[in-house]
Amino acid sequence: MIQLAVLFSSYAAFTALCLGMDGHHREVFGRAPAPGRKRLLRGAGWALLLASLLLAIAIGAQGVVAWAVMLTLSTVLLVLLLAYWPRRVAPLGWLGLACAGLALVASVWS
């Protein structure tokens, strides 16, 4: 479960970081982000990335390797979404965040 939390939170992190870039924000929403929104997205992205790393460290050495590989795969997924279904990027980012939360709750609970 906690592995899924790492995967989903790293995906959500990269969605936020990606939308914090002018060009990609415009591709998804049709306009550049306001400065405040940009800062928020970037801050949230880095915070989530750090959170996913901390979760990975909690798993142990295997977790950190898995984290590094998951980062790669979540960015590849994001790139494909941006290219073919840009409208789905933001909702799926939220979905990723929600799933990360759920997986975390489930892993703590069990």
Binding site: Q3, F14, C18, M21, D22, G23, H24, R26, E27, A61, Q62, V65, A66, A68, V69, M70, L71, T72, L73, T75, V76, L78, V79, L80, L82, A83, Y84
Partner: protein, 521 residues
């Protein structure tokens, strides 16, 4: 060579990448398959029935077998069955240095396999030996990996919009732009993986390729180095005094108290039956990141515990962790798939780079009616590598199912089928028009992989549907992966079909506002 640092690095990236690219592609693909070596073994031995036994029973079986068949050997290696591979694997070296091996069912102590095949072992070996005699293949593979490292670094330097382009892939743009985007994205996004896998790959063969430091400090006495570094099972020369070897199982059980949570991987016995015998019990290699787990050494004459090796020092640990990261034996099921996917990304990165070279060159030569010899050569090799290798792999799997079980030299014939198919793909590429060749070979590859489950169902007692229903993860996983791979090849062929020739693509681009600035080529 052009002026300017970045231009020179771009030149290096382009040409070093091209020259080593075909070999690196083959190494990446076979290495990626080698992640699932035991699973491929299992699929390729459908008539194998292995009795599942406990660890202790397996040790007893090996003990019995080796005492009977290799009593006066210089050294025994016993690889115990594990959840991924239920076969008991034994190697021994005779006193003349000749190696023998036995792959047995641990329950019956009989060969567990009816059809002779190298299985996943073939991809694993090819990955770093390239089907060449020792040590040339390993040298060439190491050198190719060094070139890869240089290509990666020069690629990073060349790609100056590294972070700006981080998430950029514009498949609807003109061919060259789309391929460049794809190449950049695949390279940048998986860069940590590429760097680690390449550097650690070089390091796995460093004892062969860079022995200078060891020679300088130890001279001819390299055994002393391995003794001081630790972690290596000690082997003493025979003293000539006979001493009966104690039963291995109690020793293994005593060793296992040092790692109650994981299994025993290997047992090495040096000079069995001699007064100088040493028994080393090693922890399974899936228990930790580093390639070597803990190990316990016993005196093989008295059964006395001599040494517990479990704490490599800093440099040895670095080496072992890098080695472990490369082989990924530590990885559980999920992480193994992630490794596999990253390997696919790396293969695609190399393939896209090769195709990009040909596209750029073609565009420059459109005015001339015929492509130059060099361009043509690259195109032929590109098809033979990128579309031909999947065909060769498919031929390997097909031959495994179609060749008669009792055929002489069967395992070797499978390998010939692999190289035969690959050679045919090259000949075809050299004789026909490039676009036709791509289409034909990609479609053929897609068909070959798509029909693999059907072929398997017709020629063996297992089939995909049953495997899924019964939850046979390995069989189902293998054939589903073959179907996914078929879909990928079919999709590539679909993308390449003549209706979408570059001119056709150009008319289809919608004039949507593109916000990311074009990178000057």
């Amino acid at each position: 060579m052009k002026d300017g640092f970045r231009q020179r690095m771009a030149w290096l990236h382009t040409w070093a990448g091209l020259v080593a690219g075909w070999l690196l592609f083959a190494m990446f693909v076979t290495g990626t398959l080698a992640v699932f070596r035991p699973e491929i073994n299992q699929w390729m031995r459908p008539d194998q029935a292995v009795t599942r036994v406990s660890e202790g029973e397996a040790i007893d079986a090996a003990d019995r077998y080796l005492r009977q068949h290799a009593a006066d050997a210089a050294r025994w290696f016993i690889r115990l069955p594990n959840p991924r591979d239920g076969v008991l694997e034994m190697y021994w070296a005779t006193r003349d240095g000749e190696w023998h091996d036995a792959l047995l069912d641990p329950g019956t102590l009989r060969p567990s396999v009816q059809r002779a095949t190298l299985g996943g072992e073939f991809f694993y070996r090819f990955h770093f030996e390239l089907q060449m005699p020792y040590p040339w293949g390993r040298w060439l593979a190491s050198f190719a990996a060094m070139v890869m490292l240089v290509v990666l670094v020069s690629g990073i330097v060349t790609h100056r919009r590294f972070f700006k382009d981080f998430f950029t892939f514009r498949p609807r743009k003109a061919a060259q732009r789309a391929w460049l985007d794809a190449h950049n994205a695949l390279g940048v996004l998986a860069l940590p993986f590429h760097l680690v896998i390449t550097l650690s790959g070089v390091i796995t063969l460093m004892a062969l390729t860079m022995p200078a430091a060891l020679d300088a400090r130890y001279g001819a006495d390299s055994d002393a180095f391995y003794r001081e570094r630790g972690g290596e099972p000690p082997v003493l020369p025979r003293s000539g005094v006979d001493r009966p070897l104690p039963s291995l199982r109690p020793l293994a059980e005593a060793a296992r108290r040092h790692w109650p949570d994981s299994a025993i991987g290997t047992i090495v016995v040096g000079a069995p039956g001699d007064a100088n015998a040493r028994v080393t019990v090693l922890q399974a290699d899936n228990a930790q990141l580093r390639i070597r787990g803990a190990a316990v050494v016993f005196d093989g004459a008295t059964g006395r515990l001599l040494d517990v090796m479990n704490a490599p020092r800093a440099a040895a640990l670095t080496h072992d962790v890098l080695y472990g990261l490369h082989t990924a034996r530590f990885a559980g099921g999920g992480l193994r798939w992630l490794y596999f996917l990253c390997g696919v990304l790396g293969s695609l990165m190399i393939a896209s780079g090769l195709v990009l070279w040909a596209i750029k060159r073609r565009q420059r030569e459109t005015k001339a009616s015929r492509p130059t010899f060099g361009t043509r050569l690259v195109e032929v090799l590109n098809v033979a590598a990128v579309a031909g290798l999947p065909l060769a792999i498919a031929a390997f799997f097909w031959s495994n199912r179609l060749l008669p079980v009792g055929l002489a030299d069967r395992a070797q014939v499978e390998v010939w089928c692999f190289f035969g198919a690959w050679a045919l793909s090259g000949v075809h590429a050299a004789c026909a028009r490039p676009r036709t060749v791509w289409l034909v070979q990609l479609r053929l590859g897609a068909a070959a992989f798509a029909l693999l489950p059907l072929l398997s169902a017709l020629t063996t007692r297992q089939n995909l549907f049953q495997a899924i229903m019964r939850g046979q993860g390995v069989e189902a996983g293998f054939e589903l992966a073959a179907l996914a791979f078929a879909a990928m090849l079919a999709w590539s062929a679909h993308k390449l079909r003549p209706a979408r020739a570059p001119t056709a693509i150009a008319t289809r681009i919608e004039p949507a506002p593109r916000t990311l600035r074009e990178e000057a080529p």
